[in-house]
């Protein structure tokens, strides 16, 4: 409950030490049509930590996020959520929320998109207005509240998409290349928003190809290759010199197979 209430008692949350393990994936395999796309992947994400997931196209980054979100069922392997806060386990939807590269917003106003999400997440009617305002403020979208969501700029749409995910009060925010199609200024605003969420106690798992973004964001880096974890390391160590050949090649822009 402490995590779930992050927007209201953000100070209290952020002062708490990040020790709990939100999730551990162990020997996860995902096959489709006989093709093994995730091949025995094991990975731990810590609460309130910022983990950047990198790797070449086809290495299984997006699949990993989707499996974590429960959008895909792994063929085998286990995913264990260990709850940092009591009572968290019964609220499966709140463990994580996901932001896609291309946001799918409803054909409604900006505020109504958040209203809808809050209704889905079971927020009481009387609470919704206040929460919508807080989320709009967080995304710096107050002035666009009544605007149809689908006419916003790409950056504005993605900010809305991020706070819509945060409406779930997740322990872990999953982001799948959220800035891949945005300009530098819009990218900076998304990064600031991610940073704000993190400071309020939300764990981050960010898939990105943007090495600069990875350096700015990561506490730790997980590098995937061929559906497996090639390397998992603290960010500073990783960027100082990756131990795996695959990651080193990737950072140098070399081809590696």
């Amino acid at each position: 409950m402490a995590i779930a209430g992050f927007l209201r008692d953000a100070e209290a949350s952020s002062s708490r030490a990040a020790i709990a393990l939100p999730v551990r994936m162990r020997d996860v395999v995902y096959e489709i049509a006989g093709k093994r796309l995730i091949d025995g992947l094991s990975l731990s994400l810590r609460a309130r930590s910022r983990c950047v997931v990198m790797g070449p196209n086809g290495s299984g980054k997006s699949l990993t996020l989707r499996i974590l979100q429960g959008l895909l069922q792994p063929t085998s392997g286990t995913i264990t959520w260990s709850d940092g806060a009591p009572g968290h386990a019964e609220r499966r939807a709140r463990r994580s929320a996901i932001v896609m590269q291309r946001p799918v917003l409803l054909r409604r106003s900006v505020a109504a998109n958040l209203e809808h999400a809050l209704a889905v997440y079971g927020e009481r009617r009387s609470e919704r207005r206040g929460r919508v305002e807080a989320l709009l403020a967080m995304a710096e979208l107050e002035h666009l509240a009544a605007r149809p969501a689908r006419v916003l700029s790409g950056g504005e749409q993605q900010r809305l998409s991020v706070v819509r995910a945060l409406a779930a009060e997740p322990a872990l925010l999953l982001l799948d290349e959220p800035t891949a199609s945005l300009d530098p200024r819009a990218t900076a605003m998304i990064e600031a928003l991610i940073d704000r969420a993190h400071r309020q106690g939300v764990g981050i798992a960010l898939v990105t190809h943007d090495i600069g973004q990875a350096r700015r964001t990561a506490d730790e880096v997980v590098f995937l290759s061929h559906g497996r974890v090639a390397e998992a390391a603290p960010a500073r160590a990783f960027f100082a010199g990756p131990r795996s050949e695959a990651a080193a090649a990737y950072l140098d822009g070399r081809l590696f197979y």
Binding site: G70, A93, V104, R107, R108, V120, V151
Partner: protein, 234 residues
């Protein structure tokens, strides 16, 4: 045979004179068809949406069946509803035969398959766009139905208009179950059929034009409502 212009003048002079009988007939037509379409939508839209998102064995058969039912001949529906509602039929005790309620039932049977089949198609393509997002929010496929229905609202308006068009224009079913009783179950189409059989072709044609004007009015009103909102949501 009278010319078109003469027919038009005759029909509209009756409208302008607020011919009480004609007004009654127009009002009953609208009441019956709007109620039938309303009920058909209450049944058909959620059903169509559920069919769009649900996956179950035999789904293909159901889809073929629903699509085929769109082409039900009104006379057959009229006959079936008559046999149901007749005093000799299983639902005779309701005493609905030769009442507007019977006409609503018949039109509802005609319109519901249209609403189900077309809304199924619209929602299914919309669902592909929204599926991952809505599931990531923890909504099951069926729980997503209300959201999808609202998101599809612009397309569904056209579905509703298609259903209304079928209802307001059909004569074969309502004349059997309504009986075309003056002041009770006489609507635009049955009046047109009656006037035609009396040889009053000009008047029949004029009434047909009024029907057309009504249909245009309803469509235009819906399009104006829809246009204002739709452009906003791109």
């Amino acid at each position: 045979m009278q010319d078109f212009g003469g027919a038009f003048v005759e029909a509209f002079s009756r409208v302008l004179a607020a011919d009480a009988d004609l007004v009654e007939i127009v009002v009953l037509s609208l009441r019956v068809s709007l109620a039938a379409v309303g009920i058909a939508c209450l049944i058909g839209l959620p059903l169509g949406a559920a069919l769009a998102v649900a996956r179950f064995p035999g789904r293909g058969v159901v889809l073929v069946l629903v699509n085929a039912l769109m082409g039900l001949p009104p006379v057959v529906v009229g006959l079936a509803v008559y046999l149901l509602l007749s005093n000799a039929g299983p639902m005779g005790v309701l005493q609905l035969l030769y009442t507007p309620a019977a006409m609503i039932v018949a039109q509802c049977v005609l319109v519901t398959p249209i609403v189900v089949a077309l809304s199924r198609q619209i929602i299914e393509s919309l669902h592909q766009e929204y599926d991952e997002q809505l599931r990531s929010m923890g909504l099951s496929r069926l729980q997503a139905v209300p959201t999808l229905l609202w998101e599809a609202r612009f397309g569904l308006l056209t579905v509703i208009l298609a259903g209304f068009g079928r209802a307001i224009a059909e004569v074969g079913a309502v004349i059997i179950v309504g009986g075309n009783i003056n002041h009770v179950t006489r609507v635009m189409t049955t009046t047109i059929a009656l006037e035609t059989s009396k040889g009053n072709l000009g008047l029949a044609l004029g009434l047909g034009m009024i029907l057309l004007v009504l249909a245009i009015g309803v469509n235009a009103a819906v399009m104006v409502l829809r246009g204002a909102d739709r452009t906003a949501h791109a």
